[in-house]
Structure formats: structure tokens, C-alpha cells
């Protein structure tokens, strides 16, 4: 199956998650009207700088052993933890998302300049939004899968978790053709622009 690209993902802004990521505790943190207004302005700025794109591809699993997952395309992911995670699955969903270059440049400019407060808010918004984009992609695929009595695993797995080496970013990124979305992997296996993510979720039958 070909990779499916989502050129403009529209999300409800995950405000609770953004505030939580920044350390806000609903019953404890005291925020004046002016401080709140400032944070809201930074969040609005972040949203206007984010260009949220995604991509996903279903790939059949050829075999899962105790230490590796082999895909029908011939790709092999060596990781005990990933193999354990995909034990029940006959297919996987490879997915990627990016918040785009503009937001990353704004984070860097503010962080290096004199507005780190703005930078941390932009950073939190981008991180949460890009994570939510993967939730969105999973919900999108689940909708079709459900009609065929299949579904995605609730959780997803990313390169860099446990023994699933970061080096795998290169393979995932290439398989998904993330370059089309402006995302590349650098020599240290980090996705560029920075606020980009990849992940794997398993696909299996819905139990009777």
C-alpha cells in the first residue's frame, strides 16, 4: 500500500496537555489575567507558525520472532521490545508527522534571543501538537480498520525507545517518504526540522 500524505492536519488545540507540559497544575498554579493573556498570545503565535503535516503507510508483517520484526517489504526492525509489542499483529502502521520549519526557527530565535518564556511555550505547543497529529492519524486509520473488524494497538512505539535504536529513524523516514514533507534525518539520526516524529503502531483483528 502506498504512503498516504496529509498535507494539512486540523486539530483541536490540546490546551490541557500544553499547560500540563509547562508544569501548570489546575488546582495549585496561580496565573494572573495578564500572565494568562501573555501565555495565550504565545500559544496563538505558535499555532500560526505550525504547519502540521503527516504521513502513514500500512505494511504487512512477514514474521515476528523474539528479537526482531520482519516486514513483507523485506525491512527488518531488530528490537526485543518492539517484537514483544507487535506479537499479536499481522500488519503495522508506520507514521510520521511534522510541525514544519517555521515554528522550529521561531523557537530557536526566541531561545537564543531574549524571550525564552516565549520559546518554551512555542516548544510545548509544537511538541504536543505533533504528538496529537499521530493520535489523529491513528484515529483516521482506525475508522477504516474498524469496518474490517480490525484495529490499531492503543499505544505506539518510536525509534529511541528501549532497545529500538534511533538508527531506525532513517529507515522509517525513507519508507514514509518524509522528504516530501520537508523532513530529513541528520547524521545523528535526529529528524530535522526538530518538531517531527515517527512511530509504529500494530494492526490486528478485533477479537470476537
Amino acid at each position: 500500500m502506498n504512503a498516504q500524505y496529509f498535507d494539512s492536519i486540523t486539530l483541536t488545540t490540546p490546551l490541557d496537555e500544553i499547560y500540563r507540559r509547562l508544569g501548570y497544575r489546575r488546582t495549585v498554579t496561580k496565573l494572573s489575567v495578564e500572565q494568562k493573556k501573555k501565555v495565550e498570545r504565545y500559544i496563538a503565535d505558535a499555532l500560526s507558525l505550525i504547519s502540521l503535516k503527516g504521513v502513514a503507510k500500512r505494511v504487512a508483517v512477514a514474521s515476528v520472532s523474539s528479537s526482531q520484526v520482519q516486514l513483507s517489504s523485506g525491512l527488518v526492525f531488530r528490537s526485543q521490545r518492539l517484537a514483544e509489542f507487535l506479537q499479536e499483529c499481522d500488519e503495522i502502521l508506520l507514521m510520521g508527522a511534522t510541525a514544519g520549519r517555521e515554528i522550529v526557527e521561531a523557537i530557536q530565535a526566541n531561545s537564543a534571543g531574549d524571550n525564552i518564556a516565549c520559546a518554551v511555550v512555542l516548544d510545548a505547543v509544537a511538541s504536543e501538537i505533533v504528538d496529537k497529529a499521530l493520535d489523529w492519524i491513528m484515529a483516521y486509520f482506525n475508522r477504516d480498520l474498524r469496518r474490517a473488524s480490525r484495529c490499531l494497538t492503543r499505544r505506539r512505539y518510536s525509534a529511541g525507545y528501549g532497545d529500538f535504536l534511533l538508527e531506525n529513524q532513517q529507515i522509517i523516514c525513507k519508507t514514509l517518504g518524509m522528504k516530501k514533507m520537508g523532513v530529513v534525518v541528520n547524521e545523528r539520526h535526529i529528524l530535522v526540522p526538530e518538531k517531527s516524529v515517527t512511530a509504529i503502531a500494530g494492526i490486528g483483528p478485533i477479537s470476537k
Binding site: 489575567v33 500572565q35 469496518r147 526538530e194
Partner: protein, 797 residues
């Protein structure tokens, strides 16, 4: 067969249940094309249809959910017409004349412009191809279902309506947060789809029936058409690593009953439901009398993500007027160059300042208005939630924009010339838009109320014949400038009053026209707004960035009881930072003001306050040590207690730094501990580019008298050690955000020890913890506040 529409008025209509899962139970293998498999195994799908009919379904869906060009191409099937015709015929043969067959249309799997790459007209053509096959197969009605993209639902609905007048149901799929994956809420979806000509609207899939009750509750008050619900058999649950639908038939039927009592007129089942679920449902609800739609028409506008009611009881609706190139050179140039950044900014500014709708006028001499208006609508549909008012006299431009706009727009405007009425009324009706009725006919301007009244009545009679109701129309009260027409205000007010009291239709005005050619225009605009509103004005085209006008609007809403408990008024003014600042500045000493500014993170005022402190010749050493340092310490304590969160901590730290930067040249030797600064080297280790955390630590350390040498990110061990040696730094802070790079911290420490350096290391970062720090011979700091505490402790040793 009975007339479908007539039957719907008399009883609850039972729809069928899930098809895919039934086919699998009956042998359809995984991964095949369900449509092709059914065509190859006709008895299986006919049995599924028959089982649903036996269970009590009165409408069965043809098995054509994925039978569009895009989906079939994934299985290398090219004859879209044939497969749709075959599958519709199978359903038709099974249903005979005892039940209705709905031609089922599902999503293409692609997003449509402006939300995706598939051109709108191509989407319409894809659906038309499918619809032609279904019509040839003999379907009675159409169902457009499981839509997450309102634009795709619109494309499919337009395709149906351009080919047939058969009854058409549209159901969207909503997520647990109450919106579709693309962000459309149920009321906006309803407003857009029913005005575009859907005969019934509702929801299917995604949630169980209990969750769907909330969606139907939201839709019902605004529904002019019957409502539909086709829920899953409960919410999917994870049991022993497997997802399952666990709602049994009886429970499903009870929840279905609740949906019917909330106003659903057509009900069936989606994923996980079986003929047994439909049998139980039919038994439970079939005897109920249906709740008829509450309205025949609705004054409301929508975008893809928001709807606005145009109602006498609602607050005055402000249509932002700023997207208009008349007299705006920059906007004219941008439109000519097909750039959109200024437009985006104008939309954002108006939305943030309280506009309810955005007027869009792109009339620039020499510009292709149709093309430009369409492009601008596509842009605004993505970058603002506000519904649009299409402001153009060019019929072709309005037609193109209405076709692609993913909501219900307001057309500004239609005047009384017969040729215009003939062209514009059917066009606006086709796309379900509302329109502004302009009481003008020909070139002569009608100033007096009586002339206007006659034109309004005449245009309305024509509009009524075209299918419009008063709820679909807003009358322009035709405000003209009082500098040329002294009686203009009075005549417009008469028009507004007559529209409210006699003709019972809503009104709008172009507010700033009243003051054209006069000085101090906001006062005249504001005064007129209050007068007109008191006489019944429903909407005003105005500049939302004008504080006077917006405050008048908020005030008059309170006084006319259109703002319950003055909630919007209070919220608007409690947000005003200026009012608060004035209060504070009048009562505090300069020391208190500086302390408060640091604690509040007031970067905007701190340099001015520091200047005031220097000018007032107070003891600056005392200011730093007795006022500013305790203030920033208090911020740290609040952060520790979680009373402050990260942006507050940093804003305070930055405020402190700005104050200090200003004061430092004025401080005498020994007035602050800054004179004995301890050098700290900071770096994000090799391989890691994340540096916000490190920058925060640097900021905090500087505020506490450390001399920070920040080496940046992705710094090699050799470079860090070289800098430690060069600066003779006793303290080093290392940061890493990834498990793959945190190991490089150890290399830095080992290299420094090898070279005989005895500096102390403090490490931090998302993946680093106390144990890891200890294992490599370093101290650990969880955040900026802790980093300061640890560094201070180490400095004291």
C-alpha cells in the same frame, strides 16, 4: 412503495446495521475489496441484506461504501459504474418493493481542497461517477456516510444534487471530543449540510449510542431536517490486548430509544452491530412517534469549525470589515501578487478582537476577482474559524466562492435589478447561503424609507419564489453619510424599525458609512450603533479593531439584555491589562513596583522602572540585594510549590535580567555579589541540538550572580574541556535530552579527569536522573531552580 418523506413524518425509520463485519462472518477474507467480493458472491450480500430486512430494517444500504474511483483503484478495479450498478441491483432485488434501498457513498480517503490535495471539482466528479452507477442500479435514496471532512461531504452532496433530486442523508463521524477528525462540530455540520440541501443529517460510527445522544441533543434545536443516528455497538474496549465491541442487543436498543427521544428520526447501527441488534432496536423504537424538525429555516452561518446564530436574542453580530482593498495599497499589492500573509494577519487580528464574521472583498481593478475570491476563501477557510461574508458584485466570483466554501456563507449583497435577481437568487439558493438584501434598484440611490420598503418587499417576493425564507435573508438598512444626507441616519433607523416590528426580518448596516467625511468618526459610528441596535439592528459591518465601537457594542448588548449576566462584557474588560496597570502604578513605591514586576514577569515595564530607580537616586545596591534578589527567590519558591509554572518562572527571570542589565553600569564596586562572579560553563553535549533547558539554566544562574559561559548545543567533549581550562571554571553544567546523547556526558567528565581538572559537574535534561548523574560522578538538577540551588551549594564547598 410509500413516499419516503411522508413516511418519515409518521414513524421512526429503521436503517440496517454493519455490513463489513457480517460479510467477514460469512467468509469474506481479510484484505480483499469488499465490493468486488460481494459482486463475485452475490448470495452472501443478499443474505446480509435479507437478514437486516427480516430484523425490521426498512432501509438497506447498498454495499458500495468504498465503491469510488479512489478506493477501487487500490484494488486495481476500474469500472466504477458497473460495480455500483451491480451492487445496487443486488440490494434492489433483495428489498423488492417492500423496503427502500439507499445508495451508500463513503469517503474517498483523500482530503479535499482547501484541507487537502484533491481538487474540489475532481472530488465532485469522483462522486458523480459512483452516483450514476447507483442510479442505474435502482436506488431509492442516497446516504453519504462516515465523513470526517465537511468539504468531502459537501462535494458528495453537490454531486448527488446535480444528478438527481432523490432524498439524501448525510452523516458525519464524530470523535469522543465531539468534533470530526477535521474539527467540525455537530451544529456547524448540520447548518452547512441542511442548507446545502441534505434531506436528513446526523452521525454514524465512531462512538456508541450513549455518546451519540449528546451530539443529537446539540443538533436538534437547529435542525430543519430529520436527524439520523447510526451508532456502533458501544465503544471499542481493549480486553487482553484485543479490541472488542461489547454492547449487547438489549443495551443497544435501550440507548437507541434514548436517541429517538432526543429527536432522531432515522436510526440503525454501524460497526459491531448485527441483525440481532437491529431487531432489538426496531422492537424498542418502531412504535414511537417521530419528533418533527423544530424549524423550517434557520438564520445561521457556519465555517468548517464554527457556527454563528443570527437571532434577535443573540448579541449584535459584528462583521469584520478589514479585508477590503479599497484605499489599502499594501493589501492591493498582496492580492495582485497572490500573497496571503497580510490577509492571514487581518483575519487573525479581527478574530482576536471580537469579530463574529469576516467580510471578504477582493475587488481590485484589473484583478481576476472570481479566481482571487475563490483563493482567498480557501485560505481563510483554513486559517480562521469565523464564517465568511462574500462581498462582491461579480456573480461569477460569488458562484465560484460559494461552490468551494466549506460552510454556510453570507452573500453581500443582492439588489433589486431584475437581471441580478434572476441570476443571483438561484445561485445563492443552490449553495444554501444566506444573503444581504440591498434595497436598491437601478442607479438611483433610494434615500427615503418608503422607497426602500417597496424594494425590500419586491425582492423578498422574488426570493420567496426561489425558496428563501425570512430567516435566510438580512436586509441592509443602507446607511449613508450624514455629511451629504443629513436625514440618512433617521431614514435608516426607520428601515431597521420597520424590518423588526412589521416585516420581521433581520437587518445589517455598514456602520462606518454614517461618518464618512467627518472628523472623529469612531464617536459618530459608536453613537449610531447604539441608536440602531436599540431599534433592532441585528448585525453591523464594522472595524473590530476599533475599541470605541466594540465597547459600545458590548455595552449595548448588556443594556438590551443580549448578554446574560453581562458575562461577555465582564470577560472582555477583566482581560484589559491597561486598567490593571494603572491601578498598580498609582499606589506602589519604585522598589515595590520593581519587585512586583519581577514577580509578575512584567518585561514590558521593567526597563522603565529601572530607569526610574536610577533617576530617583535610591540605593541601587540595596535595590538589587534587598528587593530584586528576594523577589526572584520568591518566584523560585512559587515554582517549587507549583504555584508558578515554567513560562512564569522564565518571564520573571528574564524580567530580572533586563533590570539587572540596565542597573549594572550604575552599580558601585561591591554593591552586588555580581562583583565576585563564579564562572559556570554550560553546554548541551555532542549529538544533541536541544538547548532550551540549558538556556533557562543559564538565565537563572546569571540572575544569581554566576558568570555563565554558554557554549551552545552539540558541543564535543574536547571543546568543553578546553573551555573549562581556559576559563578556570570550577563549575560545569551539561545538558542532554536523548538517551542516545546522555552517554556523552560521561565522556566529558572522564576527559576532564584525565586532564587533571577537578571542576564539579551538574547534569540535567529530560532523560537524565539522579542515579545516572551519580553513576558518572556528577550532581543532578531537575530544573532551572534546582540548578541554581545545586550550583550555589557547590560554590560554597
Amino acid at each position: 412503495m410509500q413516499n419516503f418523506r411522508q413516511v418519515l413524518k409518521k414513524r421512526i425509520m429503521i436503517l440496517d446495521g454493519a455490513t463489513g463485519t457480517e460479510l467477514q462472518k460469512r467468509g469474506m477474507p481479510q484484505g480483499v475489496c469488499p465490493e468486488q467480493w460481494c459482486a463475485d458472491n452475490p448470495s452472501v450480500i443478499q443474505n446480509v441484506h435479507q437478514d437486516y430486512l427480516n430484523a425490521g430494517a426498512e432501509v438497506i444500504y447498498s454495499c458500495t461504501f468504498g465503491a469510488n474511483r479512489e478506493k477501487l483503484a487500490q484494488h486495481k478495479i476500474k469500472d466504477v459504474f458497473l460495480i455500483n450498478k451491480q451492487l445496487a441491483e443486488l440490494a434492489r432485488r433483495t428489498a423488492g418493493q417492500k423496503a427502500w434501498v439507499a445508495g451508500d457513498i463513503g469517503p474517498t480517503g483523500k482530503f479535499i481542497e482547501p484541507f487537502g490535495p484533491l481538487p474540489f471539482e475532481e472530488a465532485v466528479e469522483i462522486f458523480k461517477e459512483q452516483i450514476k452507477g447507483l442510479l442505474a442500479g435502482g436506488v431509492d435514496l442516497f446516504v453519504i456516510e462516515t465523513m470526517i471532512d465537511i468539504q468531502e461531504a459537501r462535494a458528495a452532496l453537490i454531486a448527488v444534487k446535480e444528478l438527481t433530486d432523490k432524498f439524501t442523508i448525510v452523516t458525519m463521524t464524530f470523535e469522543p471530543d465531539g468534533r470530526t477528525l477535521n474539527g467540525t462540530d455537530p451544529v456547524s455540520a448540520l447548518i452547512t449540510l441542511q442548507s446545502l440541501g441534505a434531506d436528513a443529517v446526523g452521525c454514524n460510527c465512531s462512538t456508541g449510542p450513549a455518546q451519540m445522544v449528546g451530539l443529537i441533543e446539540k443538533m436538534k434545536p437547529y435542525a430543519c431536517v430529520p436527524l439520523v443516528a447510526k451508532p456502533n455497538a458501544g465503544l471499542p474496549k481493549l480486553i487482553k490486548g484485543q479490541t472488542t465491541f461489547d454492547m449487547q442487543e438489549k443495551e443497544f436498543a435501550s440507548s437507541g430509544f434514548r436517541l429517538v427521544t432526543q429527536g432522531v428520526n432515522l436510526i440503525g447501527g454501524c460497526c459491531g452491530t448485527t441483525p440481532a441488534h437491529i431487531r432489538a432496536l426496531a422492537k424498542r423504537v418502531a412504535h414511537r412517534r417521530p419528533a418533527v424538525p423544530l424549524r423550517k429555516a434557520l438564520g445561521a452561518l457556519s465555517s468548517a469549525r464554527k457556527s454563528i446564530l443570527i437571532d434577535e436574542d443573540a448579541p449584535l453580530r459584528i462583521v469584520g470589515e478589514c479585508i477590503n482593498p479599497t484605499g489599502k495599497k499594501a493589501l492591493q499589492e498582496e492580492l495582485r501578487a497572490e500573497k496571503m500573509s497580510l490577509l492571514r494577519q487581518l483575519a487573525k487580528d479581527q478574530e482576536q478582537n471580537g469579530a463574529d464574521l469576516l467580510d471578504v472583498n477582493v475587488g481590485v481593478p484589473g484583478l481576476d476577482e472570481a479566481r482571487t475570491l475563490k483563493n482567498v476563501c480557501n485560505l481563510l477557510a483554513v486559517c480562521t474559524d469565523l464564517p465568511l461574508v462574500l462581498d462582491s458584485a461579480d456573480g461569477e466570483a460569488v458562484a465560484q466562492a460559494l461552490r468551494v466554501y466549506p460552510g454556510r456563507a453570507l452573500v453581500n449583497s443582492i439588489s433589486g435589478e431584475p437581471h441580478k435577481l434572476k441570476k443571483m437568487l438561484p445561485l445563492v439558493k443552490k449553495y444554501g447561503a444566506m444573503f444581504i438584501l440591498l434595497p436598491l434598484s437601478g442607479k438611483k440611490i433610494t434615500v427615503d424609507f418608503e422607497s426602500r420598503r417597496k424594494i425590500i418587499e419586491r425582492i423578498f417576493r422574488q426570493a420567496r419564489k426561489a425558496g428563501f425564507r425570512k430567516d435566510d435573508i438580512i436586509v441592509d438598512s443602507m446607511v449613508m453619510t450624514v455629511s451629504s444626507f443629513p436625514q440618512a441616519a433617521a431614514e435608516a433607523i426607520k428601515t431597521i424599525r420597520w424590518c423588526r416590528d412589521v416585516f420581521q426580518i433581520r437587518t445589517i448596516c455598514g456602520l462606518s458609512n454614517i461618518s464618512f467625511g467627518l472628523p472623529q468618526r469612531p464617536w459618530l459610528n459608536g453613537a449610531y450603533l447604539v441608536m440602531a441596535r436599540a431599534q433592532g439592528l441585528t448585525m453591523a459591518i464594522a472595524n473590530p479593531l476599533n475599541e470605541t465601537v466594540m465597547n459600545m457594542k458590548r455595552s449595548v448588548d448588556v443594556l438590551l439584555q443580549k448578554d446574560p449576566a453581562a458575562a461577555a462584557f465582564i470577560a472582555s474588560f477583566s482581560k484589559s491589562p491597561r486598567a490593571q496597570k494603572r491601578d498598580v502604578s498609582q499606589t506602589l513605591s519604585i522598589e515595590q513596583k520593581i519587585s512586583a514586576a519581577i514577580i509578575d514577569g512584567n518585561r514590558e515595564d521593567i526597563t522603565g522602572l529601572a530607569r526610574e530607580a536610577v533617576d530617583s537616586k535610591i540605593d541601587l545596591g540595596n535595590l538589587v540585594n534587598a528587593i530584586m534578589v528576594p523577589a526572584i527567590n520568591e518566584v523560585g519558591e512559587r515554582f517549587d510549590k507549583k504555584e508558578y509554572f515554567l513560562p512564569q518562572l522564565i518571564a520573571s527571570a528574564e524580567t530580572m535580567k533586563m533590570a539587572f542589565d540596565y542597573l549594572e553600569p550604575h552599580l558601585r564596586e561591591g554593591q552586588t555579589s555580581a562583583a565576585q562572579k563564579t564562572v559556570v560553563i554550560l553546554a548541551t553535549v555532542e549529538g544533541d541540538i536541544h538547548d532550551i533547558g540549558k538556556n533557562i539554566v543559564g538565565l537563572m544562574l546569571r540572575n544569581h550572580g554566576f558568570s555563565v559561559v554558554d557554549l551552545g548545543s552539540d558541543v564535543s567533549a574536547e571543546k568543553i574541556v578546553e573551555e573549562i581550562r581556559r576559563h578556570r571554571a570550577p563549575l560545569v553544567g551539561l545538558s542532554a535530552l536523548m538517551t542516545t546523547t546522555m552517554v556523552n556526558m560521561k565522556d566529558v567528565i572522564e576527559l576532564s579527569r584525565k586532564q587533571g581538572l577537578n571542576c564539579r559537574f551538574v547534569v540535567g535534561g529530560a532523560v537524565v536522573n539522579e542515579d545516572y548523574a551519580r553513576s558518572i560522578g556528577a550532581d543532578y538538577a531537575h530544573d532551572g531552580v534546582k540548578a541554581v540551588a545545586v550550583m550555589k551549594k557547590l560554590r560554597a564547598q
